[in-house]
Symmetry: C2
Subunit: 328 residues, 2 copies
């Protein structure tokens, strides 16, 4: 599945901006270039940057609201750097070995330099946001704090969290930054506070759809496509949407299976298979897929109040379609 | 040894500011209050905050340059929060179990929440700096990046780094934030760029004196006073000033002893004793003590170009005396 035009339009600009920002002689800078996919572990240039969803959304909103795209670049970079700093630290916390099909930073350079690399990237994100402006930096630092609180909630939650708790966590952990992308776009284009709020509401729906799709891919996705081992979210007992749904619906034997396996120290391949069978039997996959579509429709409805160009509407529809069906 | 007046003057104001800033219901907020010493691990209020050197310096400079101390508080807090975020992450990286006589955050709450707690504190530091202003936030984010790069260098350096490399690392790892404290004071008081530069040069000397004194305490300090097990820096094979000096001076048997022990996986109590004996024989302790005094004299000379009040001069002298002789 190819990237939609909205994610291709600004890709060269953002990639070049990332390369300039992460330029530096120290080994921490080299680690950051490795992490975002500008270089391999030997420092050789590669084309490995991710989807660039968040910074592309910033620049798309700026362009649609007739702002200056080039001038908005530092703001867009600030959010991509923040996203990437959180990935470096998340990978340490989850002990994930693979990210985008390549070894994670900590697994190559150790936990210590992994922590430092993430910290440096958070500081660099803020430097970029400060080039954009004080309001932009304030928006980013609020979103960063909210994202980290969501990450903290994720670790803290007990097994049976219920869907409303799940969404509360997702609105922070994933939603905060995607809302902030729309918000930065609005701020950088000088949009009205009402339009800023509308765009943030769109971001909230995008965040939910994005995370739930991620959760589905973490269980049913093709490892080659996602860049992570198949079923790894179950092996790591992550509190994803399908599990949340299944735990709310399970009775009798299925309830016992889920609880037993999620209570184990080590989850085996057989366990993963049994959990997936229960999830499917209880319709958790279907619920997830419906939620993705629903949240994207809500986003679409809210977008009616945003003055998009004809081209902008078309590209946004294409993006929404991509987000609903992406395999990576 | 009592705290000097300069560190007592603003203590209540800063402590109250920290409590307000770190107020919050989430468990991450509770972890942050525990870390800075506002609460014990049960959430009971304690009087455990550290020396508050950096924020006190900010407010001292502001007051001496006739700025508004109350209005400068967020800037002062931003630097204390940054310092504390780095301590939370440093303790994970060094696997330190004790800090200020209490268990470290990661040892109580796990590495995962330790990483999150530090990340949240970095974001909160930036929020405070942004209340102060864009220039202040820019100064802080630059200093933060430099501090982290210094931390990265520390991990990366080979055994024999030499004194000039050691100082380069210290100027980043420790100096960046102390320079920034003086700089924020200057910015918040609206000082001239020349005075800002002078104050930062004072901060550089303070940073070196502070770190070298810390290194001496990490080897010869009383564990009850420092809040860390005695000799722990040697047990952890840290690249401190005394070791740097000794490695540069050692020949024959002493060279072999140092290299052997610093090359071992596990350093025993006997090893620690043997290293300390070599350090003392080679005069590394004396060199360290002389360097502390020298850098503080340089600071004092540079302070002659700063228009301090009579009281300010007196309190600054008292602080310098304290920094030369502090036991914790």
């Amino acid at each position: 599945m190819n990237l939609p035009r909205l994610l291709l339009r600004y890709r060269a600009l953002i990639t070049e901006g990332l390369a300039k920002t992460l330029h530096g002689e120290s080994s921490l800078h080299a680690i950051l270039r490795y992490h975002v996919g500008l270089e391999d572990s030997q420092g050789k240039p590669i084309e490995g940057v991710g989807k660039l969803l968040r910074p592309s959304l910033v620049l798309f909103v700026v362009e649609e609201l007739c702002g200056d795209v080039e001038k908005a670049l530092p703001g867009a970079l600030s959010i991509e750097l923040t996203h990437n700093f959180s990935l470096i630290h998340d990978d340490i916390e989850d002990r994930d070995l693979m990210r985008r099909g390549r070894p994670t930073v900590w697994s190559l350079y150790g936990v210590e330099q992994g922590i430092n690399a993430g910290d440096l990237m958070q500081a660099m994100a803020m430097s970029q946001a400060l080039i954009a402006g004080r309001a932009e930096a304030k928006a980013l630092s609020e979103a960063t704090a909210e994202m980290i609180e969501g990450q903290g909630l994720d670790l803290e939650f007990e097994e049976e969290i219920g869907i409303s708790h799940y969404l509360e966590m997702v609105d922070k952990k994933t939603g905060a930054l995607i809302r902030c992308a729309f918000r930065l776009g609005a701020l950088l284009a000088g949009a009205s506070p009402i339009l800023e709020q509308t765009l943030m509401a769109v971001g909230q729906e995008f965040g939910r759809a994005f995370q739930i799709r991620d959760d589905l891919l973490g269980i049913w996705g093709d490892g080659v496509q996602t860049g992570k081992p198949q079923g790894s979210d179950i092996r790591q007992k992550k509190k994803t949407l399908p599990i949340t749904v299944a735990l709310a619906r399970a009775v009798g034997e299925e309830y016992t299976i889920l609880h037993q396996i999620y209570g184990k120290e080590e989850v085996t391949d057989t366990d993963v298979g049994r959990v997936i069978a229960v999830l499917e039997k209880l319709g958790a996959k279907d619920v997830g897929e419906k939620m993705v579509t629903d949240h994207l429709s809500h986003a679409n409805e809210k977008l009616r109040n945003v003055p998009l160009s004809a081209r902008g509407k078309e590209e946004m529809n294409e993006l929404i379609d991509y987000l609903a069906r992406r395999e990576r």
